[in-house]
């Protein structure tokens, strides 16, 4: 069945209103996007929503008890709770470097979980 859906693109903060005409998973037309990212985004929104997951991981002997992390690529939205549980199991020893891999191939998504800052060891630890 032919359907028309308007989606707010979140690829950048501009927030284009992109209209997608589709028949199930088949994309017929995409309008209203200011750049190609908008078309890709809108297509994904119809077929399967994916997002970067930014969260934190527990750190042992760090200057702070947590280190922020993110997935290196977008993962399916429906996997977020499972991904949070998986990352929640981890505890990493300080020091950490930005970009350091914390978990490889998270839930077979081909996304790695990496540290998003440098985190030194706790002084006197």
């Amino acid at each position: 069945m032919l359907e028309k859906q308007t989606i707010t693109c979140v690829a950048c903060p501009k927030g284009c209103e992109v209209t997608v005409e589709h028949d199930g998973d088949e994309i017929i037309d995409i309008m209203g996007n200011a750049c190609p990212q908008g078309a890709d985004y809108a297509k994904e929104e119809i077929v399967a929503k994916t997002r970067i997951l930014p969260t934190t991981v527990r750190v042992k002997n760090g200057a702070l008890p947590l280190c922020p992390v993110k997935t290196t690529k977008q993962i399916p939205l429906e996997l977020m709770d499972k991904a949070m549980a998986k990352i929640g199991e981890k505890e990493i020893e300080a020091p950490l470097k930005m970009g350091q891999i914390i978990i490889e191939n998270l839930l077979d998504t081909e996304a790695n979980v990496v540290a998003t800052r440098d985190l030194p060891k706790k002084i006197n630890a």
Partner: protein, 426 residues
Amino acid sequence: MIKIEKDVVVIGGGPAGLAAAAKVYDNGVKDVVILERDFELGGILPQCIHNGFGLHHFGEELTGPEYSQRFENDVEERDIEVKLNTMVLDVTADKKVFAMNKDQGAMEIQAKAVILAMGCRERTAGALGIPGTRPAGVLTAGTAQRFTNIEGYVPGEKVVILGSGDIGLIMARRMRLEGADVKAVCEILPYTGGLTRNVVQCLEDYDIPLKLNHTVTKIIGNDRLEAVEITEVDENMKPIPETSEIVEADTLLLSVGLIPENELSKKAEVALDDRTGGPVVNEGRETNVDGIFACGNVLHVHDLVDWVTEESQIAGDWAAKYINDDYKRSEKKIDVKAGENVSYVIPQSIELEAEDRKRIPLYMRVSTPLTAIDIELYADGEKLYSFSEPFGKPGEMISVPLAQKTLNDLDEVSEIRVDIIEKEGE
């Protein structure tokens, strides 16, 4: 008290201070120091662990800590002096900066130029005066963000958020991912105060209801928050009593606005703008006080850090020019005025001689949501040119350029006005 002399003192080591300091240095002024009250650099960015930063500035999507780390690295590579755990107590109009820290005690720094980059703080519950009790569990969204992302405590399990600013939206998703039941985000206005992308990826993705035209009318609970009363408001923002409902919650997060932190600016006799809450500045972000500059959220609250960086680099360039005695203010300045549907425009004046002017980005906000807009620029009432945008939202800053050629030609002009008009028939 120790006495120090410096070419440039930067107050605040967040994104604004970091970018400004590096720019000052790159212009050949290497005697610069950053004073930061926290134990590390980065300002608020280390706790903004979400992605979405840097799309304009770097052309790639970074998280807050990553964005910050790049500028921290810039400062470190240049070997710019940084004093951490250092609180600035006073700044005078003749650019004496009084500060203190544990290692050095009290110090008086005589600067040739000062860059104010103190950022902003959140409006708190006290500013709202919500009726009811005063239990634990009512906190600003930024405080909750610090607990959750830096200190490792999730502040509650059943959460209501009042105000739809970006931090509130981001924290709705963050608390939900950490296992909390986020019941609703209430916004007293008929539109959200945050970026559209945050409404989509923080609320819609997780089916968190956004209740527009709703507010919290009562706080219930003795030691700990037990519930809040949520009520719809009419078009005058007056609560409609028969719409009230009680929602069980142990945590109420407030995301109800940010206030530029200008206590030091006032001590230095810097004039403030009522609309922005920050200093009145010229195109170089220089305030009314000679040699005192301001940039970032202390000047006006930004929605994107990318614009903070751009603005702080302008301030850094000009502070260096000031030190090098490299610019000449014109006899008569141009006032930049916010016209129809515009809540403010930065900078508020243009002070360089016509032939010395370079391209100037004008930062502005619409005062109300509009669709299909023309942003029209007028010089002494005469139209210069206009830009079209599909929409204008109060939560999303608009930047339009004043071209160098245009500025060079505006020799006899005393006022530039910006109007934002909805196109007819659309």
